[in-house]
């Protein structure tokens, strides 16, 4: 009996004390917050300062009974550091900026060339921003990407994010990474990060944005780009190709093309050290189906199919080798070959790792591609 009174007393005291002590410090209503969906960094006029543009949604105009006003606003602020710029918002915005729903982080090319690590620290250290925001390098000014352009989503940042995620699933020829992936690669001694580049075309109402190519970095500095086929080469190597179209020429005399739709792909890198030589073998095994045929060859024949498979393998091989060549020319190990060596030859790598950028270009890359064409979709023979 006495025991139970005690508990009640304690609960009462607990409640009283929680109320007494919590002046509700962290209490912030949803309608005190400005939900940030995207951030863009540009060089401010003062070369020491950062120009930070933030996209904030206006929920009032978005909901089911929403009004007709703009669905988002872009707010600019400057500061010597990211955090200072964030604080400076308070002088500009009627609500406190709230970062957990940030979906993209855009950097202008010039900032990317100087290095983006200082900006990323905020996204990793601070508990608030989401570390899964996509990193985008803008061809022109970063803030322009947050301006309105033709899209279905209604909010530019959302549209950009959807584009990147769709692109991965449907095309797989431009690599992208989020803040954590970028930071992991940047932090690692034997791997370098990549990101997507988006460019703006047209003006005013005609304005549209498109995913252009893959940016490759050395440490945190942008040093080059991979075009689309090199981009897919890169993705083949790191086993991230999900889908895509491989266009091969029809066997025979005509120049007609056949589109092969990728169904399945799996790749592995196998490092080997023989003496002083570093070798790496990329094993790709993939399956595809014929999605489209422009010519009129009967594809149901066994040897035709085999030759198609060979052509397909050649295309993949070329893409891979192009990507490797580009990276080796730029001396930046975006593929994580270093990591692969470290896992297999930790002892040898201890000496090599220090001068990895010298060893990396010397790696001999070979491929082994198991290419197969499984189906011909619903057609077995061409229309003609």
């Amino acid at each position: 009996m006495a025991r139970n009174t005690r508990i009640i007393q304690l609960i009462i005291i607990l409640i009283l004390i929680t109320f007494f002590f919590s002046g509700c410090w962290n209490y912030r209503e949803l309608d005190d917050l400005a939900i940030v969906t995207g951030v863009a960094f540009d060089q401010a006029e003062n070369p020491d300062k950062i120009l930070m543009t933030t996209q904030v949604v206006v929920p009032k105009n978005l909901g089911s009974e929403g009004g007709n006003g703009p669905t988002f606003i872009n707010v600019k602020s400057t500061g010597f550091t990211v955090m200072e710029a964030v604080r400076n918002y308070n002088a500009k915005l009627d609500r406190r900026p709230f970062f957990p729903f940030t979906e993209i982080v855009v950097f202008s090319k010039e900032i990317a060339r100087e290095g983006i690590a200082p900006y990323l620290d905020f996204f990793i250290r601070d508990p608030e921003p989401r570390s899964q925001a996509w990193i985008i390098i803008s061809d022109s000014d970063a803030q322009d990407l947050l301006e309105e352009f033709a899209n279905i989503e209604g909010i530019p940042t959302r549209a950009l994010r959807q584009m990147i995620e769709r692109q991965q699933g449907a095309m797989s020829n431009i690599a992208s990474s989020d803040v954590v992936e970028f930071a992991q690669a940047f932090h690692s001694k034997s791997r370098q990060p990549v990101a997507s580049i988006i460019e703006i075309k047209g003006e005013g109402k005609e304005k549209e944005v498109l995913l252009k190519e893959t940016a490759i970095f050395n440490e945190d500095k942008l040093i080059g780009t991979l075009d689309r086929s090199e981009g897919r080469g890169y993705l083949w190597i790191i086993n991230k190709v999900e889908s895509g179209i491989i266009v091969v020429e029809e066997p025979g005399l005509s120049n007609d093309k056949i589109s092969l739709e990728l169904l399945l792909s799996q790749s592995k890198m196998i490092p080997r050290i023989t003496g002083d030589k570093l070798e790496i073998k990329i094993e790709v095994s993939m399956e595809s189906q014929i999605a489209e045929q422009m010519g009129d060859l009967d594809l149901s024949k066994h040897d035709v199919l085999q030759s198609l498979e060979r052509r397909q393998a050649a295309v993949i091989h070329n893409e891979i080798m192009a990507a490797v060549k580009k990276a080796q020319d730029l001396r930046t190990d975006i593929f994580g070959f270093g990591q692969a060596f470290t896992r297999k030859y930790p002892k040898e790598m201890r000496s090599l790792e220090a001068k990895w950028d010298e060893h990396f270009p010397l790696i001999e890359v070979s491929t082994e591609i198991k290419s197969s064409i499984r189906r011909t979709a619903v057609q077995t023979r061409p229309l003609t």
């Binding site: 006495a2 007393q9 005291i13 004390i17 007494f20 002590f21």
Partner: protein
């Protein structure tokens, strides 16, 4: 403000414990309770008033570091 709350909390604790102790006539327990509470209260009050109190952990740090120097690892 904090001090007022603090004193209220203290009074609460005393009111919470004392009746049972009186009913059971456990005087020694009461003495121990009051002594400990008094000490804790004083310590807390000093901390609220931001008086510097010697930190026992520094002592521990110093001692262990002394042994570090003694035994080079």
């Amino acid at each position: 403000m904090i001090i007022v709350g603090y004193i209220f909390a203290l009074i609460g604790i005393i009111l919470f414990e004392i009746p049972t102790l009186i009913l059971n006539k456990s005087w020694w327990e009461m003495a121990v309770f009051l002594g400990l509470t008094g000490f804790a209260f004083l310590l807390g009050l000093l901390m609220i008033l931001q008086v510097n109190i010697p930190n026992p952990v520094y002592l521990i740090n110093k001692t262990v570091e002394y042994f570090f120097d003694l035994v080079p690892i």
